[in-house]
Subunit: 155 residues, 2 copies
DNA sequence: TTCCGTGCAAAGAGTTTGCATCTGT
DNA sequence: ACAGATGCAAACTCTTTGCACGGAA
């Protein structure tokens, strides 16, 4: 299967080198782990994925590589108030997310907004808007049907 | 001066008592600190403010009180990815914020959105949307004019 | 008197950093 | 060969928790 992030590994490798960063096996492994699926992995998720095939890559290296990728604008750090960060290397630009309160899944929302919310906010606030974040909380289509209660855990 | 949160201290006191919570001097001090100004204070900010007049109130008590207030729905916990949470007791319901990248100020956006973004997101994602957060990043009107560079710190 | 709340200090989670060793270019 | 990257462990920040004391109902 092909998708728009095909070739992103090669592009990233080139980008790293041209900016004076070395392309180490560890960095390659982190990039591969980030792009492996459409999820929004935490640093621990990335580390676990990397260790499946490169058991000696340390968590510190994962964090350091994520920092480099953030600096290059090739990964987006997402904080949903869970106590840790998630990362998105497939779509490293601001876009809305929908978070399921029951199963915890994070979905990307790629539909174009019917309005230019940044322009609206600029008008409403007087700010020069550089970016935004828009997160929706609710039940994903899957969890909507499978349970009448919306709480992740019974209190 | 009067504002819509006048009487909120009294209302909160009543709410606490009716729910079986005690109204202690510490809790009153935390509530006062939260409502003192329109900023979006962190727990440390609240603690500092409380200690101006009640030096023996511990940080743990501040956190515990914030938990109670969150449970009552009287304070909103906000996480802007700064590594700590901020709290809003004046407007404890979801509303957009605008964060200045230069001075760090957090402004409330009270203008009504021109569209029902929750309805849009529901249509776009199939989620049952329960809530959302919308944060804008940029330069506040004050910082816009005072400096041509947008970085909080020179790198 | 009976709990609930407090203060202290220690524990906890996630992230960052110092330093000696190793490696891509 | 040399600058930069790695791995380990310790440090750091914010937040939560255990426990004995203290005060309100």
């Amino acid at each position: 299967m092909t998708a728009h992030w095909d070739g992103r590994i090669e592009a990233l490798a080139e980008r790293l080198r041209s900016r004076g960063y070395r392309l180490t096996p560890q960095r390659l492994a982190v990039v591969e782990a980030l792009l492996a699926d459409g999820s929004h992995p935490s640093a621990a998720d990335v580390s676990a994925k990397v260790r499946e095939r490169h058991p000696m890559v340390s968590l510190a290296t994962v964090y350091q590589t994520l920092d480099v990728l953030k600096e290059l604008g090739e990964v987006l750090e997402l904080d949903f108030g869970e106590g840790f960060s998630r990362y998105d290397a497939r779509h490293p630009y601001p876009h809305p997310h929908a978070i399921c309160a029951r199963c915890g899944a994070v979905h990307d929302v790629h539909d174009a907004s019917p309005i230019d919310i940044a322009a609206w906010a600029s008008r409403a606030t007087g700010f020069a808007i550089h970016g935004y974040r828009l997160d929706f909380y609710g039940l994903c289509p899957c969890c909507r049907g499978s349970d009448t209660s919306s709480a992740p855990e019974g209190s």
